[in-house]
Symmetry: C2
Subunit: 264 residues, 2 copies
Amino acid sequence: MRSLAILNQKGGVGKTTTAVNLAAALARLGRNVLLVDLDPQSHASLHVGIELSAGDASIYDVLLHGAAIAEAARTVSKRLSIVPAHIDLVAAELELAQREERERVLAGVLGPYASLFDYCIIDCSPSLGLLTVNALAAAGEVLIPLQAHFLALHGLGRLLESISLVRHGINPQLRVAGVLFCMFEKATKLSQEVAGDVEQFLSAAEPDQAWHGARVFSTTIRRNVKLAECPSFGKHIFDYAPASHGAEDYFALAKEIAKAAKSI
Amino acid sequence: MRSLAILNQKGGVGKTTTAVNLAAALARLGRNVLLVDLDPQSHASLHVGIELSAGDASIYDVLLHGAAIAEAARTVSKRLSIVPAHIDLVAAELELAQREERERVLAGVLGPYASLFDYCIIDCSPSLGLLTVNALAAAGEVLIPLQAHFLALHGLGRLLESISLVRHGINPQLRVAGVLFCMFEKATKLSQEVAGDVEQFLSAAEPDQAWHGARVFSTTIRRNVKLAECPSFGKHIFDYAPASHGAEDYFALAKEIAKAAKSI
Ligand SMILES: Nc1ncnc2c1ncn2[C@@H]1O[C@H](COP(=O)(O)OP(=O)(O)OP(=O)(O)O)[C@@H](O)[C@H]1O
Ligand SMILES: Nc1ncnc2c1ncn2[C@@H]1O[C@H](COP(=O)(O)OP(=O)(O)OP(=O)(O)O)[C@@H](O)[C@H]1O
Ligand SMILES: [Mg+2]
Ligand SMILES: [Mg+2]
């Protein structure tokens, strides 16, 4: 199983939109996919039409109350399941901090399921706390959604440092799969400049840095209102607007990622 | 002095863009304005071209090491000053938690300056932690930037609940000035639907709720690439592109807010 953490501590850059639609695209390519909602906002769950009531099993119960993933997981569409979240996940960071091996709790619960799925996609919250560290310890790769704006670029260095720390201290396999430009408006000068800056920054990486070898994905996700509309119908883009630019772009991304697997 | 906290725990909705450009617009209207950067990301500081080195006085020193606001504040343009932030502000939440009256530390340091400025605009981080509670305790009003998207709408209820808690427990004067639609694309169905939902939600408020009487501002901020470009030049929109839609919209917002003052 390949597992990707979808992460950027800058808010509103397209993490959830990427996690849900990339997972759905990989399922359309015939892969078995598990989507994990690790954000207390529970937006990935909401995006696919799941709003848990207090009694339902969630990722919180899997991490801290011994519930099996099989118990909490729900089918979203063919070959695509989700382990949903609930706002009570906010309490998880404090409770995880009391545990032995507190960074590896998610890795521990995902381990037994590695042979059941081809991909595990983890949607992270816009922070670098213990939940996110759990995602980085469990994942083999990090996909970094980025908006091609100056303010969004500014935090990238700090994000890559944090990924490096986890790689050196907790998960030596961790590598950066790449940077994905979201809500990309190719025509603006700003987008071209930021994309150029990021390419240059990544190609200058030293061999011991976690982002050595990482690239900007050749697929970019264009701004497309259908991607912003589909969560209000509880659907991913392929069930809502399969002929849209949004569906095209996420399908192309899934193909690019699936192809890269062959060379790992 | 009127003080407004610019707040929404959903990330990337336009808080910093609003804090900086509204502050600049109020200064252009002849008001004396103090902008406070209360986000460890320090994006408001970056937006106006300030990147502190470790030795410089910042909001962190003002809150926790007895530095005077006058010492840390810097002039941005005529009648506009900023108390900048630095990434070390991340540590502030833990240190504030040890203090007596830990929610009112910001209110305490701002108090003596109330007669020097007409407006204080506080840029908050995308979270509801102790720094944000300090902003809500110090401010008289909250301005909520919102993107007219489904996922952004979903957290609004929780945000209003948190504001209510602070109003009942810490700051009885606190009220919601209004909801501001940012990156607004009037032509899309989604924007119209979300705007309608929010109007309806606000007008149904009970008298004891903090958002009773709050409205959606009649000014909306259109998506405008100049607003995303100006931070890379360390400038607010009036110094970068004074004839742009972005400048027009934030100037209109400042007039709408200044006018509302008369009726308070
Ligand atoms: N390519 C796109 N085109 C148009 N809208 C988009 C696109 N990608 C994301 N959006 C919208 O932009 C907003 C932010 O995206 P999203 O919520 O996925 O970001 P996020 O990084 O997960 O945010 P958070 O930091 O709060 O978790 C959402 O309302 C989403 O619907
Ligand atoms: N009206 C607008 N038109 C175009 N771009 C905008 C507009 N408002 C904000 N932006 C851009 O969108 C991105 C998000 O805005 P901003 O950083 O102000 O949001 P924020 O809520 O402060 O984010 P955070 O939650 O990280 O603090 C920034 O890159 C900004 O330049
Ligand atoms: Mg998200
Ligand atoms: Mg901000």
